[in-house]
């Protein structure tokens, strides 16, 4: 019985780590078994970057509840400064042999610089909220892009871009592996943060800031913390990006890229980390395919897709006419259909996870919680009680 409980806990809390590790293993096996096309490993590399970006943005958008449109700005800080440090080290420091060390130093520098910028932007979040904060973050992203575009050729390469550092052998393969490891790191930090008392305070601020203050939560501290952590991971994604793309161009990190990441977070469901991971993967693949099909003048239509996805999502999630449809056909309902509940009292008792309980709304709590929210059970009546049900059986 205890083993079962532990198993439930593992599947609930650590399933996403396991899935990502499994995908990584499949990738390694594929890469060794068959000669992998360069485009495929590049796609994998893009996905790893996108996932880190989406997960870190979902911390701000989904959990703190503030709209940030400048996430690409933090990424470009990481890419440029991390890349530059790596370049300087390899050119002047004769560190070629220990490339991985250079990469780690670049990662740390990129993350710290991005975190510093996150701290500065976070200060504006103390005074502004909603649309106004979104405009400030948007401005931040654009300022960073303009600064790097107009930098001198010696410093950051200007409009031509910065020559990026690289590993010597089997480059893309190593980068993808490192990317997967970094996703695991991101998940570890952000999920554990959200599933602690700090995470509870952050979501309390999202739900009701005035009440959070009155309940003794230091809103200033928590908002700054969220911005700093989110920016640091964007910086890490930036360093990863800088190793894979030559040269690093400031134009890559424009407004459209920030929106792309936002679409990933919204598509995955606000406040759902696993959703962000899945949607980041799907959108990156879609983007890759579209780039192949839409060439020349048609390339501009690619950006149209994000707008379309956003509009459709907003309609789908909020239209009253679709309420019944949403409740009937969602991922959770599907999972429940597959996993028919057994009438085992050990599963019903206490705070154990209940797969047969269908919340009408997919809440952030389900990712965080050690106790699950009960809104509707499989019989369809509201406010069902676990104990009662266990007692009658």
């Amino acid at each position: 019985m205890k083993a079962k409980k532990i198993f439930k806990k593992i599947t609930k809390h650590y399933l996403n780590y396991a899935v990502i590790a499994a995908v990584m293993l499949v990738f390694i096996i594929l890469a060794y078994a068959t000669p992998m096309k360069a485009s495929t490993s590049l796609l994998f590399q893009k996905i790893t970057v996108a996932v880190i970006m989406a997960v870190s943005l979902s911390l701000v958008v989904g959990f703190l509840g503030e709209l940030s449109l400048g996430h690409a700005g933090f990424m470009s800080i990481g890419a440029y400064l991390g890349g530059k440090v790596a370049l300087v080290l390899t050119e002047n420091g004769n560190l070629e042999a220990s490339n991985i060390l250079v990469f780690i130093i670049a990662l740390i520098v990129g993350a710290l610089c991005a975190a510093l910028c996150g701290f500065i932007v976070g200060f504006s979040a103390l005074r502004l909220r909603g649309d106004y904060l979104a405009i400030v973050t948007l401005a931040f992203g654009e300022i960073v892009r303009v600064i790097f575009t107009n930098s001198s050729a010696e410093s950051f390469g200007g409009a031509l871009g910065l020559k990026s550092p690289s590993f010597k052998t089997k480059e893309m393969f190593i980068l993808v592996i490192i990317g997967f490891l970094l996703i695991l790191l991101t998940l570890f930090v952000i999920q554990n943060l959200l599933r602690s008392k700090t995470g509870r305070a952050i979501t309390a601020i999202r739900d009701n800031e005035i009440a959070a203050r009155a309940t003794g939560i230091d809103v200033t501290k928590h908002k700054l913390m969220v911005f700093v952590i989110s920016a640091a991971f964007a910086g890490i994604a930036g360093v990863l990006f800088s190793y894979a793309n030559k040269p690093i161009k400031a134009d890559t990190f424009d407004y459209n890229y920030s929106i792309e990441i936002l679409v990933m977070v919204v598509l995955g469901g606000m406040g759902s980390i696993n959703g962000s991971i899945i949607s980041a993967t799907l959108i990156t693949i879609l983007n890759d395919k579209l780039t192949v099909y839409l060439t020349g003048d048609n390339a501009v239509f690619k950006d149209l897709f994000y707008a379309l996805i956003l509009i459709l999502l907003v309609i789908y999630n909020n239209a009253p006419a679709l309420k019944g449809f949403r409740e009937k056909y969602n991922l959770r309902a599907l999972i429940n259909k597959i996993r028919k509940p057994k009438n085992d009292p050990s599963e019903i008792r206490g705070d154990a996870a209940r797969w047969d309980v269908v919340p009408t709304k997919i809440e952030m709590d389900e990712v965080l919680s050690t106790d699950i929210i009960i809104e509707k059970n499989d019989r369809g009546d509201d406010s069902a009680n676990i104990r009662e049900r266990g007692g009658t059986k």
């Binding site: 103390l126 005074r127 570890f188 930090v189 554990n192 943060l193 602690s196 008392k197 700090t198 509870r200 305070a201 979501t203 309390a204 999202r206 739900d207 009701n208 005035i210 009440a211 959070a212 203050r213 009155a214 309940t215 003794g216 939560i217 230091d218 809103v219 200033t220 913390m225 705070d351 809440e363 952030m364 709590d365 919680s369 050690t370 106790d371 699950i372 929210i373 009960i374 809104e375 509201d382 406010s383 009680n385 676990i386 104990r387």
Partner: protein
Amino acid sequence: MAKVIDGIKAFAKKHFPKKVNRITKESDFVLETENLGISFGGLKAVQNVNLKIKKNEIYGLVGPNGAGKTTVFNLLTGVYQPTEGTFFLCGEELRSLKQEKINHKGIARTFQNIRLFNNMSVVRNVMVGLHSQDEYKCTVIESVLRLPRHHKVEKAMRERAKELLDIFGLKEERNNLACNLPYGKQRKLEIARALATNPKLLLLDEPAAGMNPNETEDLMNTIKLIRDKFDMTILLIEHDLKFVSGLCDRITVLNFGTVLAEGTAQEALNDPEVVKAYIGN
């Protein structure tokens, strides 16, 4: 340029306030206000409010609409900074502290329109209230790395939250979303959350608003229970005069931001000035 510098100064003043010399004195009262007042521009919203609340007392703040009752609450919890006067909690001056600091010092409140964390479960709402207490301290790094302290603190917080919910009869609903609770229970949950911050003084802003007579009766018993069980001092705003006279040891009547009458409920409510303010001549 001067404007920019002023802006920076204002920002610095707000977020890095200078140390204010606050007096600490011996006091028999839990809450003591001295000529407390605030004016918004030329409008004096509240002036010369002198409350003296003894330990274990249920104190009522009564008055017609717009009399400034909620403003007094906002002054006491740091939402507004008083422009005149000051206030002491157990002899410790709390003027110009931030909201969360005032809460840490020991003043907790509920709101006139319920403000719960709607998308969180009931038990987690209460656990947010426990967040900043010393016995549940756990740094971010400890919880990210899942060190033993994190697990210990989480377990202790959950147990304590369950205990509190049990007192309010909410234990069975602890895993429901807060927004799915019925109105009366949401009120109770808000009080439970405020109590979770371990206050010395509890401020209740119209706890019986929108309740039917049965729920009001129930709430009166709950408030008495809180006072006895937690050894709590309570200051409450209420319009229902039956509720006030049945519950409060002493009351203060406010009108247009000034004190009309003080004393026991009977004395104060029979004061000719008070009758005039409520019913007219």
